[in-house]
Subunit: 284 residues, 2 copies
């Protein structure tokens, strides 16, 4: 867990949701485990990116020789918290060939006609892949609880179904990392306002963002419930302070590096006779 | 078509396959249209990347408001020519959320039981997306001609089917850019050798690479035939010298920028009442 630069602690330890976790007690503007400012954070992000890229390539390479392991990053957050920025600035630094990204929108009529996990299962990462869920099956407990679209017993059934589903994935070789980007309502207001004053960002704004904002406390209760019910040993949640975008990106990158390092990845030796192939090549 | 830096001509013009094109007459080691060396090429690639990223974002944004347009980059080449490098170093510089990458491997039994375009059609890019085919339906004419797996009439049928398929895509709003990375056999030998002397690259080597290498002249004939039959106004081929990786990346980036600029993309204005939303926000 040794980390270079201005790190003073590991985000994978400091931000992990454990027993007794209280979302309300978490700061949104802090940078736990990092003593530097924005510039130092950006430098650390860039400096550590090649390691993340190498680990991802090793995971991918392993799958070419029968390896079944994969990584799944689940991103959840209030609007504007920076999920997209994580995808472009952290996931975007690894080879796109090893990334399997799924953005879950409001379900279609066909999707609604099935169980809520129906559309999620086929999106699970293939062997060797870094899967990313931009939103996920957690919408079906988060927003459904906020708006009362599912009652208590149904929500309980879903938490259990989610735990069972994620246990299956883990059993099949998928390392699961669940991230909640924790933005403050004040910071969200600033970001929404900036979207409405920059013509290159109008397209990212939707009036419903503001509608949902009115339910902020209910969403926080919903998240707390999700953490209580679904932060498991095989699929832990991490709550990442997100008011500083640079910190959130850095923290998520380190959490991913940590998850991949735990797999003890190696470069495959290939399934051919090295000496023989070198000889063939020398005569080619 | 104005280009900064050491450009002396536009790759989209210089490398485009037109009437009378001869693959055998094309240099592999040259850098057409660029007067600089490797360092200048890398600098130009980095300097132009934000423009490509912005154009891609505009294409994506347009689709959120009903836009149907998309871009499809088709990559074909001999082994080691650098398709993967184009994906990671050119496509990898745009937001992964706007990229839809499909790597076509040897077809499965199920795929073989269908027409060769059966597996390709569903991989066409969705509106707003930058689709990338790493190999493609062209394998079904290239390699099949080399190994005699399809006879002359069948190959002719496939060229026609490909042209009809690509015309359909173009009609539906997809701009198609077809790239052949043109590596020399000497350079391939060097790259294969380096893969066999670097344990982090063993996994990329396959003995079949060397088997196929023996058919080099037949492959070049197959490519020539493909260019003769399928370089159309709506889906042109570009043959990119690929012995210098830095040049190939730079050239493909400029060809993509050129294709996207031809779409005259604009930032969407959004589908809401700007003044009203600003007022709502100010009270939020």
């Amino acid at each position: 867990m040794a980390l270079p630069f201005e790190f003073t602690g590991h985000p994978a330890q400091l931000l992990r949701v454990g027993p007794g976790f209280s979302l309300a007690a978490q700061p949104c503007h802090a940078a736990p485990g990092f003593a530097g400012k924005k510039a130092a954070g950006a430098a650390a992000l860039a400096a550590r990116a090649p390691l993340l890229a190498q680990l991802q390539e090793q995971l991918f390479a392993e799958s070419r020789f029968g390896g079944k392991r994969s990584l799944l990053l689940i991103l959840q957050a209030m609007d504007t918290a920076g999920k997209g920025g994580i995808v472009s600035h952290v996931v975007g630094l690894v080879d796109p060939q090893g990334v399997q990204l799924t953005s879950f929108k409001a379900p279609s009529e066909e999707e609604k006609a099935h169980d809520f996990l129906w559309r999620v299962r086929p999106a699970a990462p293939r062997p060797g892949m870094l899967g990313v869920f931009d939103r996920s099956h957690y919408e079906d407990v988060l927003i459904h609880r906020v708006h009362g679209w599912a009652d208590g017993p149904e929500l309980d059934r879903r938490y259990e179904a989610i735990n069972a589903f994620e246990a299956e994935l883990a059993e099949a070789g998928t390392t699961i990392v669940k991230i909640m980007l924790n933005i403050s309502p004040e910071e969200q207001l600033e970001r929404l306002t900036s979207r409405l004053h920059d013509p290159t960002k109008y397209w990212k704004y939707s009036p419903t963002d503001l509608d949902e904002r009115a339910f902020w406390p209910a969403y926080m209760e919903s998240y707390q419930r999700v953490f209580d019910k679904t932060s498991t040993g095989h699929a832990p949640w991490y709550v990442v302070p997100a008011d500083k975008k640079w910190y959130a990106r850095l923290a998520v990158q380190e959490i991913l590096i940590h998850a991949l390092e735990s797999l003890k990845l190696q470069w495959p030796s290939g399934d051919f006779d090295l000496a023989r192939e070198r000889l063939r090549l020398s005569k080619a």
